[in-house]
């Protein structure tokens, strides 16, 4: 049998989306590969979070988005929720819910309405809480946790979905450097398991750890390529008006802000 073309985990064609009267995304075409971590970067107002919400089917849009080869618009909500997990910028008011309860909400797409959680649900929640090192606080309420601890619980909630595709908007918010490193390890593990991770990150140095980078500027993709590519680094410096510079540090890449004098000298 002739092999069909490999289908990307998420594909988008001709995506336009508006917030209020203003069009934010102007015809986006993209393919995000399976088992790959893609980070979306760009200046403030470039439309990064809007794009991520469109890919999660959380905003109205025109154009076509497919998830694992199926059009997102026609996918039943429950099935979509099982295949695609979302971690948004923190807007939670669940102060009274325990860490366990919050993580268990990630299993809603698998549970019958008001049905008791199954053993598989409990196992998934335990794995997620252990993976984010939130297991020890499982009986505490969200209101008793610090910002970074909460973020780890919310990440556990997204992991508990056990979806093939994870979309995360600023997942490193409030995390201290050791836990940022833990997060990187977690994402690497997910990718090894065949999961697709897409994240919007403000910290360019962290975004450069990804496999692929998608650079957005004024609602359009200006570059998509491997994070290790020099062309990606040049596109990244250009989109930030050369006010950052990418340097190699061992086997990693770091982005440093350039002061005006240094920029002129460079």
């Amino acid at each position: 049998m002739k092999g069909a073309l490999p289908v990307g985990a998420v594909q988008a064609h001709g995506i336009r989306a508006s917030l209020g009267q203003q069009e934010i995304l102007h015809g986006i075409d993209l393919t995000l590969q399976r088992a790959c971590w893609t980070s979306i970067v760009g200046p403030n107002g470039a439309g990064k979070s809007t794009l991520l919400k469109v890919l999660a089917h959380l905003l109205p849009y025109s154009g076509v988005v497919t998830l694992l080869g199926q059009p997102l618009a026609t996918l039943p909500a429950r099935l979509r929720a099982q295949q695609l997990a979302w971690l948004g910028q923190s807007e939670t008011s669940a102060e009274d819910l325990t860490v366990w309860d919050v993580a268990m909400l990630g299993r809603l797409p698998y549970q019958p309405w008001l049905g008791a959680p199954s053993a598989a649900d409990a196992t998934a929640v335990e794995q997620a809480l252990r993976a984010t090192q939130a297991w020890d606080w499982r009986a505490r309420t969200l209101g008793q946790l610090s910002g970074g601890e909460r973020q780890r619980v919310l990440l556990a909630r997204a992991l508990a979905v056990q979806a093939q595709v994870l979309l995360m908007d600023e997942p490193l918010a409030n995390l201290d450097p050791p836990h940022q490193a833990d997060w990187l390890g977690l994402v690497r593990q997910l990718v090894r398991e065949g999961k697709t991770v897409v994240s919007v990150l403000h910290e360019i140095s962290m975004a450069l750890h990804a496999d692929e980078m998608l650079i957005l500027h004024e609602g359009q993709i200006t570059h998509q390529g491997a994070c290790a590519d020099a062309a990606t680094h040049r596109a990244l410096e250009a989109v930030f008006d050369h006010r950052i510079a990418i340097y190699a540090l061992g086997e990693q890449w770091v982005a440093l802000p350039m002061e005006d004098d240094a920029r002129v000298a460079r």
Binding site: K53, R80, G88, T92
Partner: protein
């Protein structure tokens, strides 16, 4: 799961305590009144005393508890739906709508010779309920549905202010209705009979059932609307059903007892100060604590200066407001880590 037994235990203890308090207050509520404890002591031997207990005190006490339970339930639903701990059941404009309905009913068939037969049959209770329903419908129209919570909230505030102003204007133009309106605005359980009791119990059971079925949705909503939608929840239908519960519970309570202040706001906070729990348990506990608050206030209102009575709305405002103030100071102290 055993991981979450502690919050469950706290919730169960609180629930048992509230049920016990409800029973004791119901007993005490049927024992106090203008004739003191004599009526209940002589109920078996004196037909008049029996009638006072059975036809006046018992339905009044049960009615006070049920109206409070409706408001407590509505408060928990409102705070969950709007994701705001300051939300109260009157947020969709239902209280102002009910006030305007009563004011218009008083003007048209309370004192006016132009009163028509159907208006008389409708009565003040019906007018209050109709006013509350019209206000909520108006809010929904202005908010263009239930898709946007913030728009719903703003529309509710606008409708509340405008209808409240119209009710005030009505009172200004027809000052003869002022006294009757004052009684409604302060809230009273004095005229609650068995029929009103049955109606409120039926509505309470219905609203509790629906709210409990939707409680997982309220938990998911507390993580943010985007997260709730990403979990596959039908948000529009969920919000519509919650608004319906909120409107029905509030409209029914206000129609029977007038505008009781603070119960709907304070009841969920009372629960949260003791037990942190999911909405599935919160709505039950909040409803029970609403019942205890209003029945307690009503009993006090009849007992404090017996044989006279205090307006129950005044007591709920003092007790509920005082309690929230105490809670606020306690939380401030806890977060500051100092003793004021």
């Amino acid at each position: 799961m055993k991981e979450c037994r502690q919050p469950q235990r706290m919730a169960a203890c609180l629930g048992a305590g509230l049920l016990l308090a409800s029973g004791l207050l119901l007993l005490f509520g049927t024992s106090v009144g203008s004739t003191g404890f004599e009526s209940v002591l002589n109920a078996w031997s004196d037909p008049l005393a029996w009638q006072i207990v059975l036809d006046i005190r018992l339905p009044r006490s049960l009615g006070a508890w049920t109206a409070g339970a409706l408001l407590g339930l509505a408060g928990a639903v409102a705070q969950g739906l709007f994701r705001n701990p300051l939300a109260d059941p009157y947020l969709l404009g239902s209280a102002s709508g009910a006030s305007l309905g009563v004011a218009l009913a008083l003007v048209f068939f309370g004192v006016s010779p132009l009163a028509t037969h159907w208006l008389v049959r409708l009565g003040l209770t019906g007018a209050a309920f109709a006013g509350a329903v019209v206000a909520v419908l108006l809010t929904l129209v202005l908010a263009q549905g239930v898709q946007h919570t913030l728009r719903l909230l703003l529309a509710g505030v606008i409708v509340g202010v405008v209808l409240g102003a119209l009710a005030s204007l009505t009172m200004l133009l027809a000052p003869e209705v002022l006294q009757a309106m004052q009684a409604f605005m302060l809230g009273s359980t004095g005229l609650v009979g068995w029929s009103a009791c049955v109606l409120m119990v039926v509505v309470w059971l219905l609203c509790m059932g629906v709210a409990w079925l939707l409680s997982q949705g309220l938990d998911a909503l507390s993580l943010g609307e985007a997260t709730a939608a990403s979990l596959g929840l039908p948000l529009t239908q969920l919000r519509a059903a919650l608004v319906l519960v909120l409107a029905l519970a509030t409209g029914t309570a206000v129609a029977q007892t007038g505008m009781i202040a603070f119960v709907g706001l304070a009841a969920p906070h009372l629960v949260r100060s003791v037990a942190k729990t999911t909405h599935g348990r919160l709505i039950w506990l909040s409803s029970l604590s609403g019942g205890v608050l209003l029945l307690g206030a009503d009993t006090l209102a009849r007992w404090l200066i017996a044989p006279q009575e205090l307006p129950v709305g005044v007591l709920t405002a003092i007790l509920g407001g005082g309690y929230l103030l105490w809670l606020m100071r306690r939380n401030t102290r806890a977060s500051a880590g100092t003793v004021l």
